[in-house]
């Protein structure tokens, strides 16, 4: 099926998310839509899928104009979508998820089970139609999404940032599926911001920036070319840092185990230490205990077992306040929910965790002059692009919000810095800035822990890499470890040839 978008314009209030976009995807072609976070890729696809109504423009399938009032219309016309946030109902079985919305067309639950088995066989997926989706691993859930889209014989298939949750090996397998679909004549739109993947699989590349198409490229284009097209200026793809100069300061975590409400070991017997002057990156597929590990370090979760000590001082079982006072800086992974109070001003957010005593609080009142002076300085130092320090945090872009969080957390004397997903959803400029701040913090001689699911970021920042899987640490390996090997570790296995290296750096 041939897909053609003509002059699509979508506005949210005064903000134009898509500005007269033209795009043609031929049958049997993988067309990459490349752009930064917030460039308007997902909005465009939601317009195509009938979730959003475009103000202007038209959609053509095989040359015929179509109007999609709802996703149901789009699906009936042969458009399938593998969503960035899986559109699966966790408490339903695979077959029920596939069946939902197309009960008659698929012929009831038995028809859906048959369809799941049939497609699962065709693509070499090993999926039980009666398994509950919540019991499946993320990679498998994504395959359920693919089956869901294919069960209606989609002629156009959109993959929206599908690799964000996959290990490198799973990513390779996904690309193989995409190629197989292409060869069968499906038109594929692949949305991503990862240059490596684009170059591996794309037949054509269209780059989108700030809601506009800024150019097309061949898959032979270099990463640097694609990056500069995507960002609009030349960017350095590497993090610049010198060798680690280790100090005696150290965080030591021993046999840490954390349970969730129903008894799952979300952190399972984890031990590691981080010396001052080095960055320990915690890698792994999202949801393997990284979040809980950082939240336990900061005192938000209670450890069932094990100890945490910083420079010899015990932190286990301490309250968050006590941990902060011990000199721990923390960047939470969800800045809009945990990092900031969106309705508060920039200045208020910068003093959020310093509501006791000097320098901002005298007696029972806030010393606004001191606070504003500090906030102005931080705004300058951290290049926070806000109208003023009295603008609400919600009016800032993601990158500037993260700078406010960094300004707060790095704005006091630290003995340990923990950053969880510090660059998730940020534009390239902000990512560079955040990385620079993290390296500066490391070079000031304190231990730094960075949790990230982006392998590029892990490899760029780390002095050592700890890979987590199902709550445990698979191994701690040097920063120059091969990506393939890291991928294997993310699936829970420590390759034999890495074991000596792992033992050495763990010591």
């Amino acid at each position: 099926m041939r897909l053609e978008l003509r002059g699509i314009t979508k506005r949210f209030g005064t903000f134009t998310a898509n500005d007269s976009i033209d795009l043609t995807v031929e049958a049997g072609e993988i067309h990459c839509l490349l752009g930064e976070n917030g460039a308007g890729k997902s909005t465009l696809m939601n317009v195509l899928y009938g979730l959003y109504r475009a103000e202007e423009g038209e959609i053509l399938l095989d040359g015929k104009t179509r109007h999609f009032a709802s996703p149901g219309d789009a699906m009936r016309s042969g458009i399938g979508m593998v969503h960035q946030h899986f559109m699966l109902i966790p408490v339903f079985t695979v077959a029920e998820n596939v069946l939902l919305g197309h009960e008659r067309r698929l012929g009831g639950i038995q028809g859906a089970r048959k369809k799941v088995k049939e497609l699962s066989e065709r693509f070499g997926f090993d999926i039980d139609p009666d398994a509950l989706v919540q019991d499946l691993a993320v990679g498998v859930q994504q395959r359920v999404e693919i089956i869901k889209a294919l069960s209606l014989d989609a002629g156009v298939l959109v993959f929206d940032e599908p690799t964000a949750v996959l290990t490198p090996q799973e990513t390779d397998e996904l690309m193989e599926v995409m190629r197989q679909l292409r060869d069968e004549g499906t038109a594929i739109v692949f949305i991503t911001h990862k240059l490596r993947e684009v170059r591996a699989v794309a037949d054509k590349i269209t780059v989108i920036r700030l809601g506009k198409i800024v150019g097309t490229a061949e898959s032979t284009a270099s990463s640097a070319e694609l990056a500069s097209l995507m960002v609009g200026r030349s960017v350095s793809l590497n993090v610049e840092k010198g060798d680690a100069e280790l100090t005696d300061n150290a965080l030591a975590v021993k046999n840490l185990t954390v349970l969730d409400k129903v008894g799952h070991k979300v952190v399972n017997d984890v031990s590691f230490s981080v010396r001052g002057g080095e960055v320990l990156c915690v890698a792994g597929v999202q949801g393997n205990g990284q979040t809980e590990l950082t939240e336990t370090l900061i005192g938000l979760l209670k450890a069932e077992n094990g100890t945490i000590s910083l420079n010899g001082t015990e932190l286990t079982g301490k309250s968050v306040r006590e941990v902060l006072d011990a000199g721990v800086g923390f960047v939470p992974e969800d800045r809009k929910v945990d990092g900031l109070v969106a309705e508060f001003t920039v200045a208020e957010n910068i003093m959020l965790d310093r509501y006791i005593g000097a320098p901002f609080v005298k007696g029972a009142t806030i010393d606004f002059a001191t606070r504003d002076e500090f906030a102005e300085q931080a705004k300058k130092d951290y290049d926070v692009r806000a109208q003023s320090i009295h603008s609400p945090a919600s009016s800032l872009s993601g990158g500037n919000q993260q700078k406010v969080v960094l300004a707060r957390e790095l704005g006091r004397e630290l003995d340990l810095f923990v950053a969880s997903q510090p660059t998730r959803g940020l534009d390239v400029g902000s990512i560079e800035f955040v990385h620079k701040q993290i390296i500066l913090t490391r070079d000031s001689g304190i231990p730094v822990i960075v949790v990230s699911t982006e392998l590029d970021e892990v490899v760029g920042l780390a002095d050592r890499i700890a890979v987590m899987y199902r709550g445990g640490i698979v191994g701690i390996v040097p920063a120059d470890t091969d990506r393939e090997d890291l991928g294997i570790m993310m699936a829970g296995e420590l390759p034999k040839h890495l074991q000596p290296a792992a033992e050495e750096v763990e010591a």
């Binding site: 949210f12 976070n37 899928y49 979730l51 959003y52 109504r53 709802s70 996703p71 149901g72 219309d73 699906m75 009936r76 979508m81 969503h83 960035q84 946030h85 899986f86 559109m87 699966l88 109902i89 966790p90 408490v91 339903f92 029920e96 069946l99 939902l100 919305g101 197309h102 009960e103 989706v133 919540q134 019991d135 499946l136 691993a137 993320v138 859930q141 869901k148 964000a164 949750v165 969730d260 129903v262 008894g263 799952h264 070991k265 979300v266 399972n268 597929v285 999202q286 949801g287 393997n288 205990g289 979040t291 969800d334 809009k336 993601g398 998730r424 959803g425 699911t453 199902r470 709550g471």
Partner: protein, 437 residues
Amino acid sequence: MTNTPAQNSAQLTEHEAGVPEQEVHLERVQVRKWRPAVALTSLTIVAFVLTVGFGNDESTVFRFARPNDFFLLPDLTLGVRVVGIVATGIMAVISAFAIMRTIQRQKVWGWLYIVFGALFIIDFLTWAAAGKSFSFTDLMIASVGLAVPLIFGAMGGVISERSGIVNIAIEAQLLSGAFSGALVASITGSLTAGLIGAMAAGMLVSFVLAAFAVRYLVEQVIVGVVLNVLVVGLTGFFYSTVMSENPELNSSGRLPRLPIPGLSQIPIIGPTFFSQTIIVYLMYAAVIIITIAMFNSTWGLRTRALGEHPLAADTVGIRVRRWRFWNVSLAGAIAGLGGAYFTLDQTGQFTKEMTGGLGYIALAAVIFGKWHPLKATFAALLFGFARALEQTLSAAGSQVPSELLLMLPYIITILAVTGFIGLSKAPAASGKPYAKQ
């Protein structure tokens, strides 16, 4: 510590950019949950103090037989002290066993709770009615009777919450059903018309709830509470003006009892379940149909999807708001029918605020029943039983002050909701408005 295999999943938080909700297989240990063991132990102590400590040497006579039964069950005479010692003894053993299992991080078997509950009730009844004669069958009949509106209300609650709308307005739906049932039946002279009128009135309340909650995305709990207050005011106003001036508008009469031949003559069970009015038989049908449909039909699949993940439902072409609107309306009609029970089955006329907050107890039954129609029905029956205890014991002339017995249903509600049900998970999207760009 015992580790069970890693067949379970942990649900972790969803984030704004890049990564969807995650499920990962993790090792699992049984968490020590002290609440059940503590609850059992406290109940044992209470039972011991009351029935042994304040016990006496009198006996209680339990009567089971009704005149129409196939055969007449003999009366049962129980000594207060004997029952007290034996029952609390076994209860103490069960409590000790529960404590041991908890320490070993193992689950306490469900049937033990049932045994414990039965012992507690027998012990309590024997003591409370000491020296008197007491009809157990009457207690059962009263339990079902008092549970009927609760079950209808709970069915309305389950349907509504499963499709993602919190239905605090059950109380309003019951009360408007009671009012309109009486009014319509009085005007038309037809009790069937009264039933339809009651359903229409419950639905009308739902229209308002649905319009505000689904269309205008107003906080659902607030709309529900406002509706409850509004309906109390409206029905109270019409009752004290129109109805008191024209008593013929409030004299619907009562539905006839329709004993089912054969079934109604089984001792205890017959008079309790099969000698009822059409409303109660409709209730049986409603519970069965809703339970089957919720888990085996297209309607049920879509309804559950709406309550768990409306966006996912939208992306497969289900019109979320339209479905929610009609489901909430259906829920209102069912609750309205429950309201008709007050007037058309029980009293034959409307009185001010006659539902007396039972809508809220129905909501508690929804939660206690974990949003499952059948379990919610059993929860409603339990609440009905607690209220029936008060009525039958007072009537039998119990030594326990009736004011204390009046508290019983609420004490059971609190115990049930805090002590035994453990982690109860609502439909993920219940109460969250669904806004579309």
